[in-house]
């Protein structure tokens, strides 16, 4: 069953705070590069930038702890490292998205049934391509 939305918001908020602190030492250049790459959800090809932007805005409103780019980037990367998909420190985001769906880490934003990771990607997109 997809995560209850209220439950999801709690989990997401907690995770974001943890990873904000743990990634504080990363360089600003790395972070910017990561964010740009991460802000390209597969969904973009399916529904276009307007829908993705709207999803992103709604996600950020619903999860205030992930309201800025750094928090979103950190949350996605943290999920990637925490993934049980392999030994590599980071798994490709596309795989993470599939894994989210398979394991029920989904959230409904603007009616769309999304993986938590891609919802964050949409939020990042809405910030970087406002």
């Amino acid at each position: 069953m997809p995560m209850d939305r209220r439950q999801f918001l709690r989990v997401a908020a907690t995770g974001a705070v943890v990873h904000l602190t743990s990634t504080a030492c990363r360089s600003h250049a790395d972070a910017a590069s990561d964010a740009a790459a991460l802000a390209q959800p597969e969904l973009l090809a399916l529904v276009g930038p307007e829908q993705v932007r709207e999803i992103g805005r709604r996600y950020r409103r619903a999860v205030p702890a992930e309201h800025d780019a750094e928090a979103l980037r950190a949350a996605i990367l943290a999920a990637s490292r925490a993934s049980r998909l392999g030994e590599a420190p980071r798994v490709p985001v596309a795989e993470l998205v599939r894994s989210d769906f398979a394991e029920g880490r989904t959230v409904v934003v603007h009616g769309w049934v999304l993986s938590v990771t891609e919802a964050r990607q949409c939020a990042l997109f809405s910030l970087l391509h406002a």
Binding site: M1, L46, R98, F101, A102, G104, V113, L114, S115
Partner: protein, 520 residues
Amino acid sequence: MHTDARTLESGTVLEGDLCIVGAGAAGISMALEWVNSKRTVLLLEGGGFELEPAMQDLYRGEIVGQPYYPLHAARLHYFGGTTGHWAGFCSQFDPIDFEKRPWVPHSGWPMRREELDPFYARAQRLLELGPNEYEADEWQRRDPGLVPLPLGRRAVWTKMWQFSPPTRFGTKYRDAIVGARNVHLYTYANVCEVEANEAVTAVQGLRVRPLGGKEFRVRARHYVLACCSIQNARLLLASNRRATAGLGNAHDLVGRYFMEHIEMPGGELALAQPDSAKMKMYAFEFGQTKARGELALSAQVQREHGILNGTASLEPGTPGEEAKSTFQFLTPQVLEAMRAWEKGGRVGPPPIPSPEGPRADSSAVGPSRFFHLATRQEQAPNPDSRVTLSAEKDALGMPRVKLDWRLTTLDKRSMRTFYELLGRELGRTGMGRVQIREWLLDDDRTWPPFLSGGWHHMGTTRMHADPRQGVVDADCRVHGLGNLYVAGAAVFPTGGAANPTLTLVALTLRLSDHLKAKLA
């Protein structure tokens, strides 16, 4: 043989071995089974061979629950019944539909799906369907262009449908019925009372009236009510001379558990890699398509999540465009006008542009990556969803009906969960994303103004082995009455995800075999 009952003298008594009340899909299916048998069959049809306002008027009723379609427009009161405007959608009920499901109150049939299989095969022919085959893989083998979406069957599968031409029973089978020497069709023969014996253990006759003041009687060894869920209940409730609550109603069950299929646009699908050729499996063109698939959740997933059975059809659309529900096709303004028309004393013709649903006009799937997802879901059996008698009477002196259609939180939660799980599966396989429509999110109690059924009336004389839980037994015999039976969707304890016609015809054939054994 055919007789216009208006030509009979008042006081006439007609006699036969078997009397079938109603000449729609169920009544005609049963009568055909007896053509050229040694038994005399009386087939009573309230209307004539053509639609007539005066006959439709006898079906008028009050709507007191959820908004619903005008009853006299939802059912056709003439030879052939509502097959005169059905769209021909047929599929079989799933095995889980027959099970007692702890999460679905009042679920469970007193028979297994396997018992119906041979009758499904026979029903295929009557409805002019293709091979008795409902596996997507088998249809793909027959037509390699029919490719089911490669979703893991554990969660989502492709449920197959077949399409009747659609068979209009009134025209297709008229000659066979009228030409049969042992089947006597009486048109304009409206049954006004089922007369029980003094002990209320058997039916001893029917009181029948054509419009115009005459009255005659029918006597038979066995009687079958086959005049649709609402009218069957109405007739039993109104037959209260010897049983004040009505016949078969010792446990206050007649008219209860009225069910529909909830037919609503519930979401949108955006495919990751649109390929119109591969979507042929899900396309439908009225009068052309022989078979197609709809997406359904597996029995296992229904169990895990405690939800009802349902399917979603895929209809090509464009982003931002909102699909309409079956009833919404007639626009909210028309529905409102209809309610106002009902409330205002039903003056003038009803404002209905067309009784056909939107799917009848759907075009073939194009190259679009966007599809509207339209749900057809069973309704949880609900004793408070019911048909009762109104204080108002029709031109024959029969009480009209009141329909109180009610839904439960399980109905809405099931539909939302369906879309969430479908969205997960399409995301997991990388095939696309699902958007759930706004009305399905949040609370489970409220329904939008475009709430819609599919004109599928089921329940009201549900089947159960225990007379305290059902009106008819597993043989479709009314509990407590030795020679009265009900044919049609009225006996369904649950409605399944499929349209009712194929299953109601199959059940009717089963009842026919039972009666042949009784009369042997």
